[in-house]
Symmetry: D2
């Protein structure tokens, strides 16, 4: 990810909320590499929504920085997924680390209740975690 101008705040560093979008982008890319894009997953009626997030900010990132987001699937639950993240500057400095827990929702259900992960997705993820 390259830091955009609008992502900085008046302290001259990336505003803390934007890291959640960087983490989201990395998670999406990981799901895409596993063979099934998240957009397609949603079209099939399965949504993954963030239920919990934790971020620890370690060093500031600045406009123009090239950041690398390392993402790892750390837990596959019955109806949830947990990912860990490390955000590094190109040089190697760790800028932030975090985790997100996602719940699997049934988008065909008008109330969007939690549902089990589809077997196909579980199979793809099992190899990864």
């Amino acid at each position: 990810v390259r830091v955009r101008y609008g992502e900085t705040d008046q302290m001259g560093v990336v505003y803390h909320a934007h890291y959640l979008a960087y983490m989201d982008e990395a998670r999406t890319a990981l799901l895409g590499e596993l063979g099934r894009g998240y957009a397609e997953l949603e079209r099939s009626g399965v949504g993954l929504v963030v239920r919990k997030v934790e971020v620890r900010y370690r060093a500031p990132a600045r406009f123009g920085d090239e950041l690398v987001v390392r993402v790892q699937l750390t837990r596959v639950g019955g109806a949830s997924l947990t990912f860990d993240y490390d955000i590094l500057r190109a040089g190697g400095t760790r800028v932030a680390s975090g985790m997100t827990e996602l719940a699997c929702l049934d988008l065909h259900d008008p109330e969007r209740r939690v549902r089990m992960l589809p077997d196909e997705l579980r199979g793809l993820l099992a190899a990864e975690s």
Copy 2:
């Protein structure tokens, strides 16, 4: 609108893209006052999407500033609406001015084609413009 910290950029002023959200919020409030909220309009299958936007930035706005967005419906077309905006600091300085043209879409149509404004909405708006 009160300027949020995350809306500033490293120059210490509001990043220019956020004015579009301020204008959107004012337009939504205006539609709400006319008797029908925009959320309800969408639920009935009618969407209004921005087709054109122009903004002229005149003075910077800063974190904590209280901004007033004056919005005026300037044109009711067959399938479009045009709004003008003035964004002022509480003191009266004009920070920005702009316009947006919105197209009316049929959300029940899978291709979301442009449709005429519903008569009911047109009636409500006629009194305003």
Copy 3:
């Protein structure tokens, strides 16, 4: 806070990153009520930056929802502050809860090192926590 259209995502609910901005806005308002605005604090050379954040999402919030953010100062450290948050819909449903830990930085220091909280701020906060 009233949810803005641009804060929703394609699932029709508020994108999770925006809660951090809501929490920030509530924290800023609390500091303002304690007698000293955050903007003024920064001008005096003292910055508060988010070092850690946790959010637990409990129910979705939607466009047009009126959200109430309850914020409480839970800990005043030597060089840090901890806040807890509850985000509720006007009706009373709890939408999310969270915490942030802020570090106090010396903005006059070119390296922006951590510094002790200024005594004046500590005094104001002591009454609150």
Copy 4:
């Protein structure tokens, strides 16, 4: 640019304000290719701020779309720059087009008044426009 999840809105398309950030990113990349990054320009005391923006939205962009932003410097004024943009989907469909006019500011001036473009920058840009 790859569209991020948080950039969509509840209509399932990219929220219109985000195009300004895409345009900004393309403009920054262009300045970088011309030999002098914008970050460095700011450090030397010269800022470029958006004074005017126009966008015409032609087709929706969706989550996961790969967008190409073509940017062209169309005018070098005494103290301003004008850029034109075309935003295309990878397939070739034109999603939006726009323009921005930027004013050159003296960041060493406490009042940040408009100043002439530095000769060095003007030289680099002359070849491009």
